[in-house]
Structures are given as structure tokens and as C-alpha cells.
Symmetry: C2
Subunit: 314 residues, 2 copies
Amino acid sequence: MRLATLRDGTADGRLILVSPDGGHYAFAPVATLQQAVEDWASAAPALRAISDFPAKLDVTQLAAPLPRAWQWLDGSAYESHGDLMQKVFSMDPVETDRPLMYQGVSDRFYGPYDDVKFPDEELGIDFEGEFGVIVDAVPMGVTPQQAMEHIRLIVQINDWSLRALAGPEMKTGFGWIQAKPPCSMAPFAITPDELGDGWRNGRVCIDLLVDWNGDRFGAANGEPMGYGFHELAAHAARTRDLAAGTVIGSGTVSNANFREVGSSCIAERRGIEIVDEGAARTPFMSFGDRVRMEGRGPGGRPPFGILEQRIVKG
Amino acid sequence: MRLATLRDGTADGRLILVSPDGGHYAFAPVATLQQAVEDWASAAPALRAISDFPAKLDVTQLAAPLPRAWQWLDGSAYESHGDLMQKVFSMDPVETDRPLMYQGVSDRFYGPYDDVKFPDEELGIDFEGEFGVIVDAVPMGVTPQQAMEHIRLIVQINDWSLRALAGPEMKTGFGWIQAKPPCSMAPFAITPDELGDGWRNGRVCIDLLVDWNGDRFGAANGEPMGYGFHELAAHAARTRDLAAGTVIGSGTVSNANFREVGSSCIAERRGIEIVDEGAARTPFMSFGDRVRMEGRGPGGRPPFGILEQRIVKG
């Protein structure tokens, strides 16, 4: 199933089920995605029973599938990304035997075609292409195997980042506030079966195509996460219950053969330049720039739809 | 005005206005505190017009005044607290010319008399007595002076912390996930005028009495914040809009004369012991322990009510 949220003037929008061909939709029997994940045992069969998609879908009318969430936890599960970011920030390797994860702002996820506002180009505006999952209520202390059963939906995310602020905030140990404004979500939240065997071991094993101002920038595959989403969810739930609708991100999709496949964020390319050429030369984004992200699923189609945005001065 | 939230079986509860004597209440004209701060210009006069408080208040039926929030940002604005915590964690001083702040979990605030569950005593269970504010919608880029006008309510918070997990998480630079499970809130969210001249320069200038298992542990005054709440709000809003209902905390209330007034968290006392005696000797909390926190307002009364909780094994 592919779920989306139509703007209707409310903060949470109106949940719809998208037709298999992606061109039509039906209203869901529950009003919002948040309500659906709060009672997935009832919502899922009711959604699966829908076979008639009477309305034509205009993707420009879509909000994020979950326009706001009670919690957003973003991992950093790709080792090659972490290695390159340490070059960018001139930091020592992070020594930990656990998943890396930060708590991000969740009161807004931009819709897939929304303009995204930032205060200043000098802040080092960057995109980060990611996959994520939405869980239902997860009790404190679950195992990764138990957490797997709570993964209800998969999403595709652009985790906007302000690089000039990121290093100084990391050095405080308090994590990021200013460096991590709200993220964007691709149009469709999908059930794992939509990926076929592209969903394996708690990982989204498909390519993420990233284009910056019309040029291919990256096509990394989601598979090589050091921890699967079920392990990230169990890590998050060690000392807390996770509210239904919690969103958990993979961190920037990155592959060890980054020189071949490219990157899902600018900072990583700058890290490669530092390694190869001694200095970064690719600038961060300018107002008016566009970035487009497309997961390439089974049959070559984009299971999450297209996430394409322009940045503007706020 | 003092606002509180009665449990009614819903996640957000039912907003009430508490009588001046604290013993009675009236239902608010809007259902929830979240709705009130989303339209404060309408809600505040309607609340102020209430003069009849027909029902007797049973504080044990109260949820947190805001039982869940779209955002919880906690500062660390007391210099003496920061200094002592560096002793506890054997860390270098944090060098920054900006407020320290982390993004915390906001999907639940425990009510004032709820038992609070943790997985394991070995995690170093600690309380942190704080003050906080609730803002209405704050646009990105406001000045501290502009942010002051968005502070609608003041609250008193216990920011539960798991110290054994805090140091390792800080060292990653990603901030805290496991070390900072949900917080608790005292019964009443109050408008700043309730504090009289105890509300000065964006600071809650009253004592916070903290008792652990019936013994006075601290009575620090809220005044010496290095940054006022208006400055914390402007810091948070530098690169994002703040959703109405965002809660911003002061960090652990702490005074430079901590040997006289005591502390608002155990870790700080352990820091003093490290300085004075070379090693910490006060243990963290055990299951069954109780902590009680009372702000001492004008006339000696507790403007936020009493926050008193027991910790239990989850």
C-alpha cells in the first residue's frame, strides 16, 4: 500500500490511499496517517480492502505523508558517510559500540514540492537523502526482532542540514538544534511489501537517485546500513516507550564505492575532495537551487514518488 | 492565571482554570492547553473572564498541564551547573558563545504524581529540577525582545536523566537519546503575572525546593540564568519557526553558592564531592525513591503546585 496526505487546511491533512498505478486515490477510512498508525491493526485491513480509486491524484496537492510527528529520531547508520563527515568537520572518529542517533525537530515535515526556507546562504545549506520508517507504539526495552514487527511504513526523507552550524553544535555534546531545521518527506509512505525483496533485514535495499539542479549527484544504495531499522528502533526504545507515529531515519545513504555512485549530500562530496585533492571545492546550496530525490524500486518505478524542492530565503 | 489539565481518557486531557486559592476549578472554554496556545489572543481573554470555579480540584487527577508537546528544547543556562557537570563527566569545558540546548523527547510529559518507570537502577537515575516556558508560534529569526512577547506560560519540570548513558552519548556529538527519557511537569502552567516581580528579565526568580526521600536536597534560586528564556527562544528560532506549544527549559537550576543552597540534581552534588573530597559518594536513585519539587513563589505559596514522584522498575 502507498499512503499519502492531501492538504485540507488542517495541520495533519487528509489520509488517502494511492492506486497501484500512482495516478488515482481513495480517501482512507481513517482521517490521518497518525490515526492509522495509532490503530494499525484496524486501519491496515480497512485500507487493504479498498479497490476503487475514484479521484485523480495531483501530487502538487500533497503534504508530507506524516505532516508532523510526535518524534523524529535520525540515525547515522552508513559507515562511509560517517568517515567522510569526520573529514569535513576535522573531528576524531566517534568511538561507540551503539548506533549513532539524534533527536530532531518533528513538529513539521515539509511536503514533497514545498519551497524550503532558510535564513542565510552562508550557513552551508545542504540536503541529505535518507530512508526512514514509521513505527506504531513500541514498548520500552524491546529487542530488535520485536521492534521489526512495529515497523509499519517506510518513507523517503531529505534531512536538511546547515553545515556551518553543525560542527560547533557537535562540539558542545548537546547535539544539533540550529543545524537541523525541519526535514522534507517524499509523497508516499509505503508498506514494506511494496519494496518486494528490496526490503531485507530491516534495510531499504534500493538505489536513491539524487539530482542537484538537474545533474545527477548520487545513486547510492540503501543496503549497507551498519544497523537495520529494527536495531535503530530498539536502540531508541531502550529507556523510553516510542509513541505511535515515531519516525526513525537511516542517516544519509552512502556507499563505500562513493567515487562510483556519488553521494546523497554535498558535505560528503566535500569530504571526498578533501581526501583526494586536499581541499573542498563544491559549494553548498544557493537560494533558488533545486534538489530532486527518487528511490528506484522494483520495476524501475519510484515507490515513494518524487521529492523535489527549491530552497528560498526565509 | 493557573492552568491545569484533567485526565479524561484522551492523550491531551481537558484544560481547566484553577481558582486563586488553588482548591477549585472551572473548565476552560478551549478543550486543551495546546489549543489555547495556538490561539492565545482569543483564549487568554476568555480564560481571564472566568470568575466562577464550581468544582473541587483533586490534584491526583491531573495530567501534566501539557501532556505532550510538538517540541521540547532544554537549555543548560546555569553556569555553576555546567561547571560541576564537567567534573562529573571528566569533560573539557564546553567552549561556545551561544546558549547550550538539546532537543528532547516531547511525546509525553508525565503528570505531577505519576510513577516514573526506568529499566534499570544501574543507569544512574537522576532528577533535574528546572523551570520552563511555553511559547505560542514563534517565527524564524526573531530577536530576544520579540521572543519575549511569545512567552505565554511558565512551568516547572523534572528532566529525568540517566547519567551512566549521558557521558558516552555526549562524546558522540549527537546529543542524548537514551540518557533523556520523558520529563515530568508540575500541576500548573501559569501566566508570568502570577510570579509578580519573581518574573524578571526572562527569568523565574524564585527558589526551587527539592526534597529527595523527604530530605531537603536543594533550594536554588532561578535567577542566575546566563541567558533568559527570551534569549533561549530566539536561539532556538534562528533557523526554524517554533510551533505553538513548544516547551523551552532552563536546564537544572543551580547557584554559585551551591554549598549553601544545595543542588537540583544528584549529579551536581557528586560534582561537588569530587571537587571537595576527590570522589563522588552520593549514589543515584533506587527504585521506590521519591523526589518532590516545589517552587516557592510570592507569599510563600507554590505557584506551580507540587511535583512529587516515585520511580519504579519499567
